[in-house]
Symmetry: D2
Subunit: 348 residues, 4 copies
Amino acid sequence: MEMNFRSDNESPAAAAILAAIQEANLGTAWAYAEDHWSERLDSAFSELFGTNTTVLPVSTGTVANSIALAAVTPPWGSVFCHRNAHILHDESGAPEFFGNGLRLVPIDGPNGKFTAASLQQAIRATEGHGVHSYQASAVSLTQSTESGTVYQPAEITAICEMASHNELVSHLDGARFGNAVAALGCHPGDVSWRAGINLLSFGASKNGCMAAEALLIFDDDRSGADGLRERAERLRKRSGHLLSKMRYVSAQLLAYIQDDLWLGMARHANAQAALFAAAVDAHPEATLEYPVEANEVFVRWTAAGFRRLEEAGIQFLIWPGGDDLARFVFSHCTLAEETQALCDALDR
Amino acid sequence: MEMNFRSDNESPAAAAILAAIQEANLGTAWAYAEDHWSERLDSAFSELFGTNTTVLPVSTGTVANSIALAAVTPPWGSVFCHRNAHILHDESGAPEFFGNGLRLVPIDGPNGKFTAASLQQAIRATEGHGVHSYQASAVSLTQSTESGTVYQPAEITAICEMASHNELVSHLDGARFGNAVAALGCHPGDVSWRAGINLLSFGASKNGCMAAEALLIFDDDRSGADGLRERAERLRKRSGHLLSKMRYVSAQLLAYIQDDLWLGMARHANAQAALFAAAVDAHPEATLEYPVEANEVFVRWTAAGFRRLEEAGIQFLIWPGGDDLARFVFSHCTLAEETQALCDALDR
Amino acid sequence: MEMNFRSDNESPAAAAILAAIQEANLGTAWAYAEDHWSERLDSAFSELFGTNTTVLPVSTGTVANSIALAAVTPPWGSVFCHRNAHILHDESGAPEFFGNGLRLVPIDGPNGKFTAASLQQAIRATEGHGVHSYQASAVSLTQSTESGTVYQPAEITAICEMASHNELVSHLDGARFGNAVAALGCHPGDVSWRAGINLLSFGASKNGCMAAEALLIFDDDRSGADGLRERAERLRKRSGHLLSKMRYVSAQLLAYIQDDLWLGMARHANAQAALFAAAVDAHPEATLEYPVEANEVFVRWTAAGFRRLEEAGIQFLIWPGGDDLARFVFSHCTLAEETQALCDALDR
Amino acid sequence: MEMNFRSDNESPAAAAILAAIQEANLGTAWAYAEDHWSERLDSAFSELFGTNTTVLPVSTGTVANSIALAAVTPPWGSVFCHRNAHILHDESGAPEFFGNGLRLVPIDGPNGKFTAASLQQAIRATEGHGVHSYQASAVSLTQSTESGTVYQPAEITAICEMASHNELVSHLDGARFGNAVAALGCHPGDVSWRAGINLLSFGASKNGCMAAEALLIFDDDRSGADGLRERAERLRKRSGHLLSKMRYVSAQLLAYIQDDLWLGMARHANAQAALFAAAVDAHPEATLEYPVEANEVFVRWTAAGFRRLEEAGIQFLIWPGGDDLARFVFSHCTLAEETQALCDALDR
């Protein structure tokens, strides 16, 4: 049996999501996000988040991140993010492309997180001399982080306050936002707009959807032609991301947040990760690289140990840069038996 | 009853396409187009077209067009296209964005088509003085055209020869490629690579898919890092169009071309259009604006006449710029009864 | 003797300009436009134009035009200009590069000019559908025009009013602004800010300077970080146009406008052009292609006639696209004897 | 008396340079770098460097750097440079703008220099996964460095070999190239093409010119439309840097390298710096921050000490980030008495 712990990106869509797509497939519908599904998004997410929310459905997290950053950062503006951030390492410069040469500035920090203090330090360290230098413009956090940890509401609040104090806009890359909210057991607003986040890349593909993400803009003043929504919509169209049949993306998003489906799926993934984390913790040799707070488990072990797991038909990622660190990701569809088999293989 | 002749973009997906998606939904699959569906595309399309074909699945026609043009045109290069081309009028400058400021040059011509001679004339008219001017780099045709007409293989061949003679690359925007091939009854290669087309935006969304298009590169020499495929893949990633769960796009494309499903759907749409065209032709007042050769019918009539159709529950587009021209589009799912009802309403 | 009527771009700098450079060369001066010469520009030009004027010295007209347009046009915005405009034909896409893919839309019109009515028509003709289309953003006039004619203040006013009515910003490419003002005998404000022009590319290189142009921003509210001046300064720096030793450019500009030096030089050039125009007018075969209103004369004649002039050692431009149209340009340093010799050669 | 040690950017032009400009001002000359001065550049620099050299005159170092990097780096390519490099800190993202979002990657190293080993390490550390990551494309060195030190020929050779081994192009930012060559007493080829440098930003403005820099391309195969020269010329034109009256820039460059004028001026500046360095070295409190190898002296001292110098009418830069580090720059026109006065003030 092949068991896949490589990435939640490799999981199939949930049955309820497919059902929603099928339901959306009856009859014709206006194109280019003017359909009934897409038009329900603003109110559905406004209700979910408890504040006025503008929703742009898109099909990848990369484009949600890139539109968000390009919409608030001038070409001569810089965006602060963690050194391991997806926007920095895994998007081939999409933010730079959308932002016409904006610059990403890495911040170091343990466990995939940085602090308000380290943000302040980074702003200072790159502070320039007027027109000769980049202008600090935005900060981007990742929740849950690339290390599988989760920012507490107070940590995000502190960072956003520091950002705001320096006139930076705050963006959250929520590719695994569901896993974070499920882990914290908080209201989604607590780690977004209430904490000071202005723009959220709301991920759904990794947690049960087919290809559905959303760029959320909180408290937009909806000021028309010059506003943030307008810029974001222009960037979406101009980058080829305004699907003609957007209804299928929007239908996924609506189903995803209905009746807390998203939280249920995320809770399941987190729980499986926790089971394996406990097994690693109890293991005489293997150790946890980071606290396991969501659905990802980074294990430090021997190359020989990892090879044994592979031979047992278990798929996971040897982390680039060595052979003694590996990542295991748990998803909405990871079976309890698979997790058990993984734990058993570890202990064998 | 509401009957929608506004756009094939508003049609639902075909049952076989949804079934293919469902089939692709079993189990996990490698992400980022390294799944089994995506990896079958090159061979499936090479077989369909009868030549070595590189396939990049994407989710919109705009991105297929933009990647194609940006991959072969320097920022100081110009692309020739018909004055009514989608890339010029309906993509908000996506080709200019992907191509870092490349320029589109319109060519006039009746029935949505231009000729080799008018291409030559346009190249001459914009011929510049070295480094001060744009450099003629590519030509982009649309098949079937924005006017619902179809280029004959010999017409495309002549244009591509003229392009090649001037060292231009030839691109075909095939948003409705299926309708054109079905109309011509020819081999798909006859209006693409055999006619001299280098890059094809192969459309499927309008003709029965959910969101599935493909950029096809013919006879690519697969020269590695500097080659066309590499540039196209970089542009796809960098614009946020490399879906993590690409399998669902690829599965649509595979199902779409299997057993000539695409041609059957296109033939149906074309046939419905022909029925309505005949009715218009026989009408005492309404007239056909262009020859009806695929699935679109442009009708010149009175504002009052069009209003009557609307009152009969018929949806269609009053063409921008006046009130006496309208477009009716027929799709894979247009019911024969709907077409009949439309014809009846016209004659009432 | 070689006589050069090819272009005013080929003339040397005036003695007073060189003297100003030499004067600026004494001692050290702060770099990057913080020197005493650069800091006097705002007040000197504000006085010249009779209104609050922000001045950015630069070294080419192309960069002045490109910064101006990019500062007021979003990447999805379009700029209307005459079909023969320099920004369209001779800048290799610099406006598109600075403007991240903005689009130039040509307007036709006789004698190098277009009207408010034709601007309105062009806006209508390219009017799109929301986010799918470019957004009309700016208009760019050329004064004197590429055909050597001059817009009357009322003509500019009408165009700017139409622009403003459509929420477009108005830009004037004044590569030969001095020749126009000298020809009109008006106040420079009459064909710029008083007529509704917001941004002016003030040319000086063609009319006696070495390499000195200025982007003028009228009535800027100087609102700081988000304002037009800030954007223009950022674009100048980012495109490598903030010279460290800017004092030499600014010194040229100050000398150029002092005691009406610029108008004197322009008047001289215009007068020489008028002499030649009279000769052409009186000629039995040669004819004037456009009214001669500034320092350029376009002559329609026979290829054989032009060849005879060339054989007489006269340099001029056979206009691209044929052999029976030629351009003769007169500059601040054209000698009366040269003009006389040209007239004689014509009549021979 | 005011004495300026703030920057060599603030020095006036040398008399010989002004004389060359005046000489170039006689009569008309073809525009856009087709004049006799510009056309002599290739041969003059080929002779100076002892190899086939293509020369593009420009007016700032920023544009020379940006064209160089953009001509050899795809938008998804990365450029490695020292953490203190001018391209990273002082050009407001010009390389990113010209390169459509290329990325600069900083390398640490003492005294403003990095090594072949640290380049290798940086390449490894940013090594990505195919299309998801930036592709290592170029390396950029600064000579003399931002810390006033100088790379030995062997150090550059080692870095360029490492670059070449990794398929990177090697660029040298030679804003103070003259100071470095004068310091080393070597042939200019020894620290450029013979060491493996492909592209050199040859600076002249800081060392006696008004505004004259040159992008040098070594051993270009001159392959026509697709070659490096073509790309560089296109980028120059498109960024508004092709001056119509380029003769004045080219005349400066020709005079600058004639009879070793440039080396004489650089030697003078270096010698003055050495005198001050010796004084600092002998001082009981003040210390040299970096080895003084060219014309810049970085002094670590007390805020009170620096204040005393300022009160003595001495201008210099307190280095950003504190109050106990300052930079003193010596130029071609620093008077021996000024240096002496500075040394005296230090000792007072």
